[in-house]
């Protein structure tokens, strides 16, 4: 099953981009997530919602993409995706507290389980829905 990405730039203050992931996130497509987040940040987004409501599977490479999104939205350079698996293994751990401007919305149970088992839930704002996540970022 392929993954499709929907990208919506909402504007507002701070400017928020919503990236909706639909399908299965794995080693064949995780770099696309990193690319769209990099583009969003380059175009001025300072808040990011990753809408996981339609995501049915996430491999550890997907976790790497999520962690890279944190780095990008913090204005940092993420590990080079060209390093592939090696980059995942060498991922640094400099975010012990949730990063305020990246939120995960609507994760299905299977995805939430992977996030919890790997400690990722401590790094992101977690919301039940995309609307909640946008509201949390823009203080609506």
């Amino acid at each position: 099953m392929a993954m499709t990405l929907g990208v919506e730039h909402l504007g507002g203050s701070p400017p928020v981009t919503v990236v909706a992931l639909d399908g299965e996130l794995d080693a064949s497509n995780f770099e696309r997530v990193i690319e769209v987040v990099r583009d969003a940040y380059a175009h001025g987004a300072r808040g990011l919602v990753l809408d996981l409501a339609s995501l049915s599977f996430m491999a550890s490479s997907g976790l790497f993409a999520l962690h890279s999104a944190l780095r990008i939205m913090a204005g940092e350079t993420p590990p080079d995706p060209e390093m592939g698996w090696g980059a995942l293994h060498q991922m640094s751990h400099d975010h012990d507290a949730p990063v305020a401007n990246v939120r995960l919305a609507g994760a299905q149970d299977a995805i939430a389980r992977v996030l919890e088992r790997t400690g990722m839930t401590s790094l992101f704002g977690i919301d039940a829905s995309r609307a909640d996540a946008v509201a949390a970022l823009q203080g609506a």
Partner: protein, 145 residues
């Protein structure tokens, strides 16, 4: 005993086929949706390891065999890549709650592989390559960490 097999080239674009295969066989063998989800995750991580670590992008084949033995589902991965034993990787610190452990780092995939199965066995094949067996019991939840 029923056995199902899938043979694929070492290509990350084929991981979706591997996951579909695992979902189908777990359903056929009477495993729950939760067990299917766990085994799909574990087999994806193990297969991806072979493709990226073992073959390192070079051409190769991976054979996946699934069988039900008594109340257990066993999934065996056979390859001809360089020896790589995921069971030999350092065990993650499980003394603290998962939420407080740091993500990423060495062996996230291997950590998932281990926590979503009941047993992982590795052998170097006498004629070259690896044999990795993932075992999950039917009728109980995966060990919690």
């Amino acid at each position: 005993m029923t056995t199902r097999k899938l043979r694929i080239p070492s290509d990350v674009d084929r991981l979706a086929d591997v996951r579909a295969f695992v979902r189908d066989v777990v359903a056929e063998f009477g495993g729950s949706a939760e067990i299917a989800g766990d085994l799909v995750q574990a087999v994806d991580e193990a297969t991806c390891n072979v493709m990226l670590h073992g073959y390192g992008g070079a051409p190769g084949e991976i054979e996946i065999e699934a069988a039900r033995r008594d109340n257990r589902i066993e999934i065996r991965l056979l390859d001809r890549s360089r020896p790589f034993d995921p069971t030999a990787a350092p065990v993650k610190d499980v003394s603290s709650p998962p939420v407080s452990r740091r993500p990423g780092g060495m062996g996230v995939g291997i950590h998932l592989l281990r926590t979503m199965t009941d047993e992982v066995r590795h052998h170097v094949r006498p004629d070259g390559g690896n044999e990795l067996t993932l075992v999950r019991s039917i009728g109980k939840t995966a060990k919690e960490d």
